[in-house]
Amino acid sequence: MDPLTIAGKAYRSRLLIGTGKYKDFDETRVAVEASGAEIVTVAIRRTNIGQNAGEPSLLEAVPPSKYTYLPNTAGCYTAEEAIRTLRLARELLDGHNLVKLEVLGDPHTLYPNVMETLKAAEVLVKEGFTVMVYSSDDPIVARQLEEIGCAAIMPLASLIGSGMGILNPWNLQIIVANAKVPVLVDAGVGTASDAAIAMELGCDGILMNTAVAAANNPVLMASAMKKAVEAGREAFLAGRMPKKLYSAIPSSPVGGLIGS
């Protein structure tokens, strides 16, 4: 057992999965199951008033009794909006403190606003939240978020929803090397090899949504991601062989060739 430990709590799965963008709640449920994720992100939104009293809800498809909810602040552009949203989330989830903070800076790229993120993190940590924080892949910002007391640092690998993969492995490696809290890639993974690469770099986990939900077959992709995260983790722990341009040492014995 090689658990992912966030704020003292151990999780078997290093894959965290979002519950947005699926065709319907049934697909959400099956994909989340196939991913093996224990932590799922949810958004906090105004309820519909005066309609759809009996409509199906996420709570039935992905019950909070079975999964750890990670309420997010997606769509928030200021520290104040993010803080308000997470206070509501805590009330909604009966005092549950584990949250994902993200404060966006731009509606086109969804790039994080790190100044507002730092401000919000400071308040939320003081209020007793366990903050997993989405950020840019700037190692100094990551360090400051950790100093504030965030429980996990979650740099982007590329832009949210872009599926562009791991664009700056070097920065991720610096963040991983310096952090004493878990580092999870949040955003940018497009396919299984991206997930494996992030884990091979030493990241502690991955949070993804679009890579699964926007695949032609989300359930199969969820299963692929589960394996990729596990494979990448094992490869990291195993320690890869050094890269060499060529090697004079073949894998088969040099002697004993016939006719020699």
Binding site: Y22, V42, A53, A74, L88, E91
Partner: protein, 67 residues
């Protein structure tokens, strides 16, 4: 007559009402939701004792799918 703004939409009520009564009226009783009244969270345990006043701004939120 009191006016309440619920999730950005104005609602008129003929008499004083509590938050619990408003939620019942909106068919939201018993749902997993959270309420902010004039920027302050109202704990679920206090829905029954929270009177609503003319001009109150309410936000009623739920958990939905998101990444």
């Amino acid at each position: 007559m009191i006016q309440l703004t619920v999730n950005g939409v104005c609602h008129a009520f003929t008499r004083e009402t509590s938050l619990a009564q408003l939620l019942a009226h909106l068919e939201l009783s018993g749902k997993r939701l959270a309420v902010e009244r004039n920027g302050e969270i109202v704990p679920r345990s206090q829905f029954g004792e929270t009177p609503l006043a003319d001009g109150d701004q309410l936000e009623i939120v739920v958990a939905v799918g998101g990444g």
